[in-house]
Symmetry: C2
Subunit: 181 residues, 2 copies
Amino acid sequence: MREDTRTRIQEIALRLFTEQGYEATSLREIAEELGVTKAALYYHFKTKDDIVASLVDLRAAEVEELLDWARSQPKTPEMRRELLRRYADNLMRPRYLEVARFLERNQTALREQPKLVKMRDTMLALTAEMNEPGATAAERISRSLALFALHAGKWLTQESELSDEEITKASLEVAMRLLEP
Amino acid sequence: MREDTRTRIQEIALRLFTEQGYEATSLREIAEELGVTKAALYYHFKTKDDIVASLVDLRAAEVEELLDWARSQPKTPEMRRELLRRYADNLMRPRYLEVARFLERNQTALREQPKLVKMRDTMLALTAEMNEPGATAAERISRSLALFALHAGKWLTQESELSDEEITKASLEVAMRLLEP
DNA sequence: GTCTATAGTTCGATAGAC
DNA sequence: GTCTATCGAACTATAGAC
């Protein structure tokens, strides 16, 4: 049985938005690849922006869940390590990683998307949960960078002979070191 | 005496491309802000893409110079530290940093710009110069991330109460730690 | 060097038939 | 749910006058 059209639109849009950029991808292209006309897309999504919103939703829920968890925990070194582990686990899910990459690459174009603005706030709050009030500038940068290191490994994969697993493991290792005093 | 028009076009384009994105910025907007018509822009630059090329040139020269220097040096820990210092110094120049930010935010839209493709190769070669042949995955990621850490501090500045100097100093500190075994 | 004017194209979005 | 047909608006780029 075939996937429903709505999901297929999301898949194609996600790929094209990531490869070419949001603005550079027209609804005509998406429709053509799906084998329908633009008008059909408008049956499933109110606007082009609505497609993006539906993609953000795929990721936002998990990040917010992670923030809720972090806030329920004491700010200990072990909590920070566990936070990185959980974040790395999320990044392992294929669909999630694809959305993350799409969002990374289209920050400017989507800077006014309300759902994305909210998610950015959530991410910022997440880094805040990794720092005590008295943390130094180097500590703040270092710990924020730790979260980022988990993403960074992924784009190195493209040009490298290393396996996906090696990259994931090594990224987590580097991230963990950034937490150490 | 007024700045020449060509330079003013570059300045306005750089700002708008960074704020709104390359695709989202039309030549009409640039022309309006400059107080001329689109046609005037076409006198100074052959295409919209040509404006980008001229902006990339502002940065590419320094990165290539840095690569040449790195290749002339033995791959020692001290050479890597010195490389970070030089890279951080480059980032301090205002115009250079602005171009870096513009390029970061428009990677997808500009992925086929030949000058940018070349500069990406140069950056990749630069990270390669930071690793011995036998380096582990974690070392490779860590050292590549060190270069990136210098950029990362900059976007944290926006939301922080920290001064620019503190950020720069702290970023270099974090980057240096990423070089350590 | 800068202008007006416009060609040529594409876009997001809608109306209405089936 | 998908189609045809079309709209108004925006875009890049060019031609030619001044």
